[in-house]
Symmetry: C2
Subunit: 299 residues, 2 copies
Amino acid sequence: MSILVVGSIAIDTVETPSGSVQDSMGGSALYFSAAASFFSPVNLVGIVGNDFDFSRIEFLKTRGVDLEGLAVEEGQTFRWGGRYHRNMNNRDTLFTYLNVFKNFQPVIPEHYRDAKLIFLANIDPDLQLDVLDQVEQPELTVLDTMNFWISGKRDSLERLIRKVHVLILNDEELFELTNIPNIFESAQHLLQKGPRALVIKKGEHGAVLVTADQYFLAPAYPLPKVVDPTGAGDSFAGGFLGYLATCPEITDHQFRKAIIYGTVTASFTVEDFSFNRLRDITRDAIDRRVEELREMVRF
Amino acid sequence: MSILVVGSIAIDTVETPSGSVQDSMGGSALYFSAAASFFSPVNLVGIVGNDFDFSRIEFLKTRGVDLEGLAVEEGQTFRWGGRYHRNMNNRDTLFTYLNVFKNFQPVIPEHYRDAKLIFLANIDPDLQLDVLDQVEQPELTVLDTMNFWISGKRDSLERLIRKVHVLILNDEELFELTNIPNIFESAQHLLQKGPRALVIKKGEHGAVLVTADQYFLAPAYPLPKVVDPTGAGDSFAGGFLGYLATCPEITDHQFRKAIIYGTVTASFTVEDFSFNRLRDITRDAIDRRVEELREMVRF
């Protein structure tokens, strides 16, 4: 089953304690696609400028990522620059040039509209609502967002939360959204608005799945060295939805396994800059880490 | 097998977002003993003033905690006051009156000296070294400490780390001790100094066991409401060592189960002030949460 993703394509300049990289491939839709493509075909909707060098994402096509929904506009591609602090948990944005992304109006190609699985990567909630209007009956819609929209477009975001099946967010976003500083109390509060499940990402501390009647506590894959955390969240979402796309039925138990696949896929992303690691590994490498994690939580 | 614990007995005044309590029972040795006593007999070494009301810890005796090593000195018992912030992760110390604890010189009673399991709760590292000199061949010594000693008595602490089998510390203490901001890299560095295992506590994010050849990733028990985090760390240590005291052999797999028992025991502690919850529950309640956790990590 193929997945529809709508999000950003960016050219990133990143400095971390482990090194730096200039004008590398980034953006939520690319990280998501690189991750999900280990499991399933992906249909990508996004926008780039006419400066964009398609040869740099050629490998995505060979992995089954359909780029027909990628609009090319006169102008420059979205550019982002950031610098991570020593602990890798905090970062400063050095610059954000939206460029053609400023005028992004997602148009879902006709043959993407019956998508069963949809990932609404972090963009303006009004555009995310617009995407939902364009698609037919999706089986599972998964929403990502960020603090910027929680404070800036709360009404649209609240409408979205009532429409989607799964909300993926980090603990800080959850607290900002509910103003309740305990993740379990906060998650229960949010679930009452409609989503079937919340997936709360805690970075190096793992992730938590909360549904009406269960918690699943997932560890992060232990990494003695992180090179660049950029794209970890979107890679997590890619592994999560990619795995679910392979399941004949999406049960709560499959959600659990999907979170582990998301965790492991993201663990590769952060071991190098951009999607360098995701380009080089195979599905086998992912499966091995999944089994290692299973062993690391056994008691 | 009984456990020897050397630590503080305190009278606490605590304010949290959930309420407050004045002159309640606290201190590392009491929390540890209350927790460990679900599993095993405990021999306690500590000091109180002649103002101390022994009736308030009477229940510990009925649970098999031997108080012969509890010295009573002319003067006031150690008093501590603290106020927790809204997120429960940070606290301000309002006052610390060491009182008789200032002159604490642990004397291990003769019939405690062949202890097989020893918990060196957080006190001056020089006193912890002195305790190790007084005991015979312990099978397992477990060390706790705090930032205050890491910066103030690093040499003594380094000597201790070379002598103990297990170091229990939180992630911040680990970073301060090694100056390496990644817990896995940091832990490997510390293991080379001699301990068989490190147990890194991450509060609401669980705990990690690191030995030379494995990681064990333990979640925290999910609590929608925390009333008072005071004593969580010492209760964790109590459940950990208490469980190990019941094992004929202390294998790495038993370490894993011990961490889960520590986690669960601490989860009860923080549901009420002081050791109110630990006084009221039974071993059965602990075992039930252990099984719940097992279910919550399954995938």
